[in-house]
Symmetry: C2
Subunit: 346 residues, 2 copies
Amino acid sequence: MPRRRTPGLADVAREAGVSIATVSRALAQPDVVAKATLDRIRAVAAELGYVPNMRASALASGRSRAVGLVVPTLNSAIFAQASQEIQKTLYNAGYQLLIASHEYEPAAETAAIAQLLSHGVDGLIVVGGARPQATLRLVEDAAVPLIQMWEGVQPHDFVAVDNHRAGYVVARHLLDHGHTRFGVVCGHLRNNDRQRQRVQGIRAALTEAGVALNDSHVSEQPLNIASGRSGCAALLELVPRPTAIIGAMDLLAIGALIEAHARGVWVPMQISIAGIDNIEFAGHVFPSLTTVNIPAAEIGRRTAAHMLELLRSPGQTPLRLTLPIELVVRHSTSAPPEACSATSAT
Amino acid sequence: MPRRRTPGLADVAREAGVSIATVSRALAQPDVVAKATLDRIRAVAAELGYVPNMRASALASGRSRAVGLVVPTLNSAIFAQASQEIQKTLYNAGYQLLIASHEYEPAAETAAIAQLLSHGVDGLIVVGGARPQATLRLVEDAAVPLIQMWEGVQPHDFVAVDNHRAGYVVARHLLDHGHTRFGVVCGHLRNNDRQRQRVQGIRAALTEAGVALNDSHVSEQPLNIASGRSGCAALLELVPRPTAIIGAMDLLAIGALIEAHARGVWVPMQISIAGIDNIEFAGHVFPSLTTVNIPAAEIGRRTAAHMLELLRSPGQTPLRLTLPIELVVRHSTSAPPEACSATSAT
DNA sequence: TTGTATGCGTTATCAG
DNA sequence: CTGATAACGCATACAA
């Protein structure tokens, strides 16, 4: 049964013996057309296997029922988690998700946003609050709602967490245990305001407690386990050796954990290690990782839900949502070893 | 400086003093328009901040420069990795990626594919080779190329691996060490042909070696660490206890590893544990996990690259690509304990 | 090399 | 409640 092209509104209209306009309405505003007509149209549409052409619909109506998501990378547990929730939420509301990633390159983000806009997305979701004015201008010119996740700046909407406080809290936890010599392994700070805030939060807590954190004790690394290991390796060489290492994200902290053990430095007896994020693995590594829970999935859900609201009724007062975070104490942190100054040289 | 709407081809044409058609050509086929005109048009376009409207372009040309990707979930290291590579590759070629997930529900996959088609994607990428005829009919009617990943069936293209062999290889490795009592923790097999193939591969190796694998020794679980733990817990209760447990994916194997240690069953001295996938964590858990490397990132890259080829020149002879896999022996497997029958009851 | 005119499949604004 | 018909923004065959 060779069927020509994919059937269109016109085909359904002809078969059902009504006008093309009626079919369009029947599908979009079912309660404005006569029940009999409606049923007939629906039957014909189903039989013909009619699938609406969203591009045409978008062109005509100005709404594409698609939203764009721009993340640094999908290959990261937290963004994958949030993306999955966003996808699910939007999809259930009949929206499609267009995803782009920029791998922490601001220029790439701008380009990606332009492309997404060009494809006619009705809304835009991004990560972080730091981006060039030009990028924001693009979004404003397109007049589509924008929501920032994890971190956000005025005047746009955001669903975020207090990354600064996350850093502060985990540092405070270690200070409370009596640690005074710290090391930090974090991602590259230049294009990552989440990491920047966290490290600043750590610094704030230390400064407040009168503890110094030399730049040589902060190791910027790519965001993977192996880098967490090498960052930790460098910190372990320091004399005197830190008694506490904070990974500004769990992946790095877990790498640090592994490296410490590989070198025979026991956690938490000889060194305490803590992270931020609370990814799935954090509770399962040995020893289980003390960390700060960042609700990635909920960030995704809330963001998507709010996006749907904005699409439904634009021009609301901007949402500035900061989700609660919470210290999760597990087994990778404790008091520093008693003989603080007795570290083996080399 | 209040600018009305987003500028269109017409605006650029007026400012540049040429026709709308010329602008269209200048942007799409630069070598077919006079250099002087071209430069002028480009200048005006840049100054006006012209962004092409892809929906209109798609409607008019029939090509949307977007491809659809349907995965079970993004919240899984292997799919996140592949998706990231696909996104990057397509994006660099000027294509956008539309992502949908179905969470292992065949009906949801069909619906997602219909939506994606409705949005006018030029190509479709899916995971696995098992889906209802109706779904394939949708794709054929739309006449867009389809590529299957991980597993695939004729007559469509696929970029896959031999999941059956992956299971076989890892089982063979354990058999070679002398194991005779096996347990398997796997995902739900019903809607997952990758897992099904792997388990069948395991079965094939065992059968070949004359080793039995009772159904009670196969634990189907959701795909996360916690489930890997409970699956392992159940297997450890068996009398006599298995001396080897295979996780049909690393996440489950790692969960099993953790549970075994939590119960004081040492790996690999008392029990050997192996996985399949070789996710990032596999090399970093303790003891490091013996597994089979499945090149998720390369699957993504090759799939995207082939999709671009198909979009460039349709009607090629279908690609049936099976990427090599390889056993990665680490420290979670060894010979079974000598006193095979002396297991502590309960 | 450039301009003109038509159509892509829907939506939406009118009359009827 | 239903039917014409004009946009929507761009691509492209055809004409100049």
